[in-house]
């Protein structure tokens, strides 16, 4: 029984991790149809901001993870959108190339500034017991952040003017502009929001894994699989795909080995895309956000 509880917690933790890895990418892709290949590097930046602010400046780990990292990376995202991405709207391949170049540049820059060594920080929460088992309190925190992010996004899209305009531009930018919305500003804000969420994800995952300039590469594949598997709806899609892939990979990890767990995740993604080329929300939950 205790083991079942621990197992469920690990599965939910894995789902939350996938949500945090992919939500920033999902916002940018789902709303703007921009494939941001620098997403992993945005996460890496978030991790560095959190760890360095804590280790070097002595700022509380909670503030640097939950406030500083999304703020800094979000502002960086706005800058990137203004300077680079906005010239390429509607040209998907070009944005891919441009953001890929940006990702290479960011890896090189981070290596020059921070060095090519893994930096880490101890996870700030103590463990706790479930019956005779011990588990990490930090997993609960990761789950809480993922829930808060999804809830916050839903409230933003559903109940604010900005959310309404954003959804309108997402469906038909020309029509939204004709009705008085300003797609340019909306796109800038959306890209900034996506970047901020990537930074937050990278920062929250940093104490678990440690940060190195090339860590983006290990995030981006899973983030992409989740976003493509989820389909066009940002929140529902991310949640559905994360739940599916997280459960599959953790179940196999428990039953067999961590190596097979990763293989199972990829296999599940291939089967899913074969059956539902538009992703889960392309077929089901069509009207969801």
């Amino acid at each position: 029984m205790d083991l079942a509880a621990i197992f469920s917690l690990e599965v939910v933790g894995a789902i939350a991790t996938l949500v945090l890895m992919s939500i920033g990418l999902a916002v940018v892709f789902g709303m703007m149809k921009i494939i941001n290949l620098a997403h992993g590097e945005f996460m890496m930046l978030g991790g560095y901001v959190a760890i360095l602010a804590t280790n070097r400046l002595g700022i509380s780990i909670w503030i640097s993870m939950l406030v500083l990292a999304p703020l800094v990376v979000g502002l960086f995202g706005v800058l990137v959108e203004r300077l680079l991405v906005r010239h390429l709207y509607g040209r998907m391949i070009d944005t891919m190339l441009a953001t890929w170049g940006l990702s290479l540049a960011l890896v090189g820059l981070a290596t020059m500034v921070f060095g090519n060594t893994t930096v880490g920080i101890s996870s700030p929460l103590a463990g706790f017991a479930v019956g005779s088992y011990q588990t990490s309190g930090y997993t609960l925190f990761v789950i809480a952040v993922a829930v808060a992010v999804l809830a916050g996004l839903w409230l933003l899209f559903r109940f604010t003017d900005l959310g309404l305009c954003a959804r309108a531009s997402m469906q038909n930018a020309a029509m939204a502009a004709a009705l008085g919305a300003n797609p340019g500003r909306i796109y800038t804000l959306t890209f900034g929001l996506g970047a901020a969420l990537s930074g937050l994800g990278g920062a929250v995952l940093a104490p678990v894994t440690g940060i190195i300039p090339t860590i983006g590469a290990s995030y981006i594949a899973k983030a992409f699989i989740t976003v493509i598997g989820g389909g066009s709806s940002v929140i529902t899609g991310s949640l559905a795909a994360s739940s599916l892939f997280g459960t599959v990979s953790q179940a196999v990890t428990f039953a067999a080995t961590p190596v097979l767990g990763e293989v199972a995740l990829l296999a599940a993604a291939i089967v899913l895309i074969r059956l539902l080329p538009q992703g889960i929300t392309g077929r089901f939950f069509k009207r969801s956000i």
Partner: protein, 411 residues
């Protein structure tokens, strides 16, 4: 006016040309006069935690030899190539060391995977190769010398100690490549021999950072202790997550890889206190020879140098063994140096006496069990002059000098 200008240009050009020639000549002479030693180690990427101390130690060894007048009256020119934890770069740099640099000796490789990339290249181009790390044993190659320890020297000591101290059931977590696979087989064997049993073995690719599921599985299996053969920066997350799950101190850990990459300095004391290790060298070893070495090393690199790891000491010892071989051979010719090293060379290293076993090209040396406590390795028990008996069981270079492969020892 024109002619004098032309003259001037001509003279200037020929002077420049001549001086360039003579400079090149001098340069070539200077380079030839030096003995080239090439290192290939990771100064960046996931394995940098091992590579940096090793390169510091090799540079230190080369400087010490040079300060005492060099070898055969020639100075040593040591260069290191950063392989960036990338196997392809190991292959490229090994070729460059053999063909372009014409290195007298190459010291290279942290992981067994990288060693098996470098070794055939250096065999083919007939360049002497020293591998200075602890590893799983079994490489039998006349062109190759192993200055580090093998499982028969460390695992065989630590497993019975842990079984006696903590209990019979062991759970093994290991890196997923030849080192982790073979060492966990040795742990299984020695555990069985000392009356223990292995409840599970789990392997992790070198870039895995999430150990949550495994930590739950370990608790479900209720072992008496965990054996870690985890390797590299990413796997350090295991100890972090172990502590985050409140497991530190609840189920003890034994390892022969822990502390090899300064893990006990990088992690917090709460994350690693109580872990038992077994290796050839501890910076804390008593004795004047070691204290003198640590003082010299700190004078060169600063008193705040993090820690002189076992791998760093292995590299220093490997370098000094090779230097002794050159002195005895009175030549840097590869075959003469190999013959000299096979004549039973020994050095008095900071870790104690280190001698080359002529039959296997591995070393006989002291090993120590130690406990991690507040960023220090506290000596628990020492074992003098351990022979590489595992490799000796399969390898006899006197009988088969043309052997050049790694035996996976039947366990």
């Amino acid at each position: 006016m024109t002619s004098s200008r032309r003259q001037f240009l001509g003279t200037a050009a020929s002077t420049a040309f001549a001086s360039a020639l003579s400079l090149r000549g001098l340069d070539a002479f200077a380079a030839e006069d030096k003995i080239k030693v090439v290192g290939i180690y990771d100064l960046s990427g996931g394995l940098d935690i091992y590579g940096k101390p090793v390169v510091d130690a090799l540079r230190f060894a080369a400087e010490e030899v040079n300060q005492k007048g060099g070898l055969l009256g020639r100075q040593i020119d040591f260069v290191n190539y950063d392989a960036q934890s990338n196997m392809q770069l190991y292959a490229q740099f090994a070729q460059q060391a053999a063909l372009k640099d014409k290195a007298t000796v190459v010291m290279a490789g942290i992981t067994s995977a990288s060693r098996e990339v470098v070794r055939p290249v250096l065999d083919r181009f007939k360049t002497l190769y020293f591998y200075n790390n602890q590893y799983e044993g079994g490489v039998c190659d006349r062109n190759y010398f192993a200055a580090g320890v093998t499982p028969a020297q460390t695992v065989q000591k630590l497993v019975p100690h842990a079984v006696k101290k903590w209990g019979k059931k062991v759970y093994i977590v290991a890196a997923d490549y030849n080192y982790g696979q073979i060492v966990s087989a040795w742990v299984k064997k020695y555990a069985a021999e000392s009356g223990g049993e292995t409840v599970a073995v789990e392997f992790f690719p070198l870039d895995v950072t999430n150990f949550g599921a495994t930590i739950s599985k370990i608790q479900a299996a209720k072992p008496d202790f965990v054996w870690s053969a985890l390797v590299g920066g990413a796997h350090m997350s295991f100890y972090r997550q172990w502590k985050a799950a409140n497991m530190a101190g609840k189920i003890p850990i034994a390892s022969t890889t822990f502390a090899g990459g300064n893990e006990h300095i990088v992690l917090s004391p709460e994350e690693c206190n109580g872990i038992l290790i077994c290796q050839n060298y501890l910076q804390e070893l008593p004795g004047a020879a070691n204290q003198d070495f640590v003082a010299r090393f700190h004078k060169r690199y600063g008193a705040d140098y993090p820690y002189i790891t076992e791998l760093a000491m292995g590299a220093y010892q490997g370098f000094m063994l090779w230097a002794e071989g050159v002195r005895r051979a009175q030549s840097i010719d590869r075959l003469k140096v190999i013959a000299a090293l096979e004549s039973g060379i020994a050095i008095d290293a900071p870790s104690g006496k280190v001698s080359v076993d002529p039959v296997t090209h591995h070393c006989t040396l002291d090993v120590h069990i130690a406990e991690v406590r507040d960023r220090k390795l506290n000596l628990v028990e020492s074992f003098a002059q351990q022979a590489p008996s595992d490799t000796a069981a399969v390898c006899d270079l006197r009988k088969n000098p043309n052997d050049a492969k790694q035996y996976t020892i039947k366990i």
